[in-house]
């Protein structure tokens, strides 16, 4: 898309955002029936209002709050990245090994399928029981999700390596090790990279769910959400949700940049 085409799209987006914010602020400010308490067109008790959210954000961002929004965001981001890194690296190695060892893959298959079909949320209490309230439990939860996403992709990639690429490497004098390094790993990586964007999003989900249960020692934006539920504070909840949205977008865009760089040999990533 050219710059000339992009401008109207951007303008429309901003216009819609502004309209939504104005409507939100306005509709939560007028009573449905005059002077009757509590009956708003849109009740700010549930969805707060932009002005209130900005005020809460300013407070949480300042040093007055016991736990600032920055500390909580940092905790969430750090746990997400750790869960992501550990999940991607272990999932990649496991996928590569099982993808190349048919026998081993067949032995492990039912266990992998069984564990993967378990809703990961159901594991939260158990993980908390084992790892306690805190950062480790969040990371472990993110890991259990990311691991399988990356594992299945890499496994598929390692399996579907073009046999003729392996043959041609062998004719060029490659040893089994060299075939692994120059053919199997790069072809599998293409599949692994494709799983990175969903992985970072799911890592964030895992971490936030972990924070719901993790309490203050785990910290994070998930903790802010649960705390706001306890105090029925919609403004704080909105602050947490918007922050999570921003974090999610920034991380997804970042990963996509990395992916684009690593997969630049693919036609669909060419500028």
């Amino acid at each position: 898309m050219s710059a000339a085409d992009r401008r109207p799209v951007l303008l429309w987006r901003l216009a819609i955002l502004a309209a939504l914010l104005v409507a939100w602020e306005w509709l939560t400010g007028i009573k449905a029936i005059s002077r009757t308490p509590g009956l708003y067109w849109l009740d700010p008790f549930f969805i707060s209002r932009p002005s209130a959210i900005v005020a809460r954000f300013a407070y949480l961002a300042s040093g007055q709050a016991r736990l600032t929004i920055w500390q909580m965001a940092l905790s969430t981001v750090q746990s997400t990245l750790w869960g992501f890194l550990v999940g991607v690296s272990t999932g990649f190695v496991a996928g590569l090994v099982l993808g190349r060892r048919r026998r081993l893959a067949r032995v492990f298959e039912p266990y992998i399928v069984a564990f993967n079909s378990l809703p990961r949320i159901a594991l939260v209490p158990l993980i908390t029981m084992i790892f306690g309230f805190g950062v480790v439990a969040k990371i472990v939860l993110a890991w259990t999700i990311v691991f399988f996403i990356v594992f299945f992709n890499t496994f598929q990639g390692a399996r579907s390596v073009d046999a003729d690429l392996i043959h041609s490497a062998r004719f060029l004098g490659a040893s089994e090790r060299q075939i692994m390094r120059t053919v199997v790993v790069p072809s599998a990586l293409a599949w692994t990279f494709a799983s990175l964007t969903p992985s970072i999003s799911f890592a964030l989900i895992g971490v936030v769910v972990g924070e719901f249960l993790g309490g203050e020692s785990g910290g994070g934006l998930g903790y802010l959400i649960i705390q706001s539920l306890g105090t029925l504070n919609a403004a704080d909840m909105m602050v947490a949700l918007i922050s999570l949205g921003v974090i999610g977008i920034v991380m997804a865009v970042g990963i996509r940049q990395v992916e684009r760089r690593l997969l630049r040999w693919r036609p669909e990533y060419r500028a």
């Binding site: 043959h167 041609s168 120059t182 040999w265 693919r266 060419r270």
Partner: protein, 262 residues
Amino acid sequence: MAERHARIVIRRLTKTFREDGREVAAVQDVDVDVRDQEFVALVGPSGCGKSTILNMIGGLVTPSAGTVTVDGVPVDGRVPANVGYVFQKDTVFPWRTVARNIALGLEYRGVTGAEQARRVRDAVALAGLTGFEDAFPATLSGGMRQRVALMRTLVVEPEILLMDEPFGALDTHTKLTLHAELLALWEARHQTVVFVTHDLSEAITLADRVIVMTRRPGHVKLVHEVKLPRPRDVIALRETDAYALEYGRLWHVLGEEFAERA
């Protein structure tokens, strides 16, 4: 050409595949000798097992019966040493640039640094790919990719070259250009070549001997010596009476195979 020693010896080579629960013979009792520095083309209708024969020479497919020896060593499900293989399919590694693809064989052999760079540079120049060293294969045409595959094979200087319809997917013009390039490269080094194709003009243009296969189960129908002088001009050659004569003779034999099929 003076009689040279045989480098590839094929004896009573047979390959059967299981298909729907019954044995189907793809190749039956094939005897072929390929002499040193000889360019042999294997032609036949599709499904005649010519690629299977090539794969058995290359150790990619195990024979059901019979033997293949390369330089006196039986090929036994292993890739023989000193043999290069160019596939019909695009086997250029898409994640490596042109230069890094050509460097592969050198890398595997531990040839690194300046020596590797020099040999890659020479190969790139020889293939007319100068300026495309850092390009990824996805940005190249089919003809250029096949050039990369060819140079990648030749850069490690194999003495025996197995080629499985390497130009099969290319248009006529590109094909002729690559024929000329291949012949020039071959004139320089005189590798022993087994070239599989279903294109008779390609076989006559390139080869010293053309082996015509029957349709399935494939066996040798005719071994024909191509008496066209070398070096050959791939374009001018086709206008000569000698070429027409060779083509007519072989087409008659090959045509019988196509006709029976229809």
